[in-house]
Symmetry: C2
Subunit: 314 residues, 2 copies
Amino acid sequence: MYRIGIDLGGINIACGLVDNDGNLVCKRSVPTFAEGNDGAAVAAGMVNAALNIIGENGLEESDISVIGIGIPGAVDRDRGFVIRTANVPLDGFDLAAFFAERTSVPIRLDNDANCAALGEAVAGAAKGVKNCITVTLGTGVGGGIIIDGKIYSGFNFAGGEMGHMVTHLGGRLCGCGRRGCFETYASATAIINDTREAMRQHPESKISELVGGDPDKVNGKTVFDAAEMGDETAKQVVENYIVELGDGIVNYVNIFQPEVILLGGGIANQGEKLLVPLRQYVGTYSYGAGLIPATKILKAALGNDAGIIGAAML
Amino acid sequence: MYRIGIDLGGINIACGLVDNDGNLVCKRSVPTFAEGNDGAAVAAGMVNAALNIIGENGLEESDISVIGIGIPGAVDRDRGFVIRTANVPLDGFDLAAFFAERTSVPIRLDNDANCAALGEAVAGAAKGVKNCITVTLGTGVGGGIIIDGKIYSGFNFAGGEMGHMVTHLGGRLCGCGRRGCFETYASATAIINDTREAMRQHPESKISELVGGDPDKVNGKTVFDAAEMGDETAKQVVENYIVELGDGIVNYVNIFQPEVILLGGGIANQGEKLLVPLRQYVGTYSYGAGLIPATKILKAALGNDAGIIGAAML
């Protein structure tokens, strides 16, 4: 038996055939055609993507135990129902009913970030781990909670908002309406803004040199590159970022004491450059540090495939 | 069949006979005699307390399915082993072996705060709820995490340190070595300190009147009483406390989206006086507020019995 995983995005529908151990056998991507279309069009795109990949691999629907779908938004897992989405027109759409009319394979839904967290726990950097927290450092800070090998998202399926934990009460305004959310200090957006501010204050720094003086060219990597070149201004920004990220991660250690915390998203691509000082910070400030076994902090391994694999393994 | 629950404290061993539905049938308290004694003496006190309550109720050991013990510290649940305690001499003590030599009833261990959280979820204010977070506002801020009706404490049994989440990065120094922990702003100790400071700055306030000008007489209730008398200084302290407590609670809502968050400890005795403005704050700032079913915020119901009942239900 195989499984199908679909990672639904605003631009593409990524669809994969996955075996029961969470190995990605084959994947395809087709446009979502979200703009100007209704939910049925997007849903039909997903059905077709699933049926095509089954046919392409010489399989029948009866060879597939489940089609799992990661949705960019909130879903009712029990009813196979989309509650609210961001970039696709599926608000209130009954995906379970739509699929049931077109295929005999049962579907399962979850939030896409939760699917990615599950993918990493099943077949990625946290493979075989029972309890794992994923923190994704992208435009915002997202993530997911795996407890006992399963996605945990609370009674209303909306938990695991890892970026919306206030670490600076009264601090920076967050898109969620609060002030001081972790996301406003630890996301790629945050470090880009902090890099631009440092560049403005220190036009002599290597940061400026690296982007030819153009703040618009600053990305999440710029300040790490400048710091590696020995630039003091950049080092200060990175050091401060380690504290901001580190304190958020320590919070999650103290709450969950998971075997593993995984970092994903663009900033995590800094790899050990980021992880070495981060581990030292977390190892110093975690509750009971040195007295109890410590949470491992690792880089997520599967990239964009995590969402497909996790959806398939729902 | 019945169960025995023991809540081990530095002063007393509280022991109860509990039925399989979590009802406390009978309880007794004996001194711990922790001071100057070794682990064996304290453990023997617990064995005797358990055997006495069995005999007193005309029962045999064979009528008891388990003796559960809540330990003020860290335990290895799997091995029945105490890792580290605060006020009792049981560091490294093998309670499972000690009990096995003296009774045929198997024992189970967990941290005392976790047991109290479980007690509330089994038979208290969160009865029948699958996912519940307990936050205890006492000398520090403690608590516990119940997921799927069971205690969650991570792979090293040390999770659920609800007070040691930084909400003010770089803020007040915490006993855990970090700065800005929730505990340093939301505990009874914190509000007492804040009350004293307000009293110093505003000697004309009702706060001063209530304690006869003596800062040592300030307790966790003082400022709420003064606020109820219409005192502006006290109202300000309470309002600020609601923000501090509220933002921490919103963090827990955004992470866990549990059915229920329970408040325990001395400050929770303010009841609806505290809960009404707190619910409004949490209802305003929680992620997805108004769009998804909301977490209920309630006062813990079982008081000190929660620890006994939870231990029995381990």
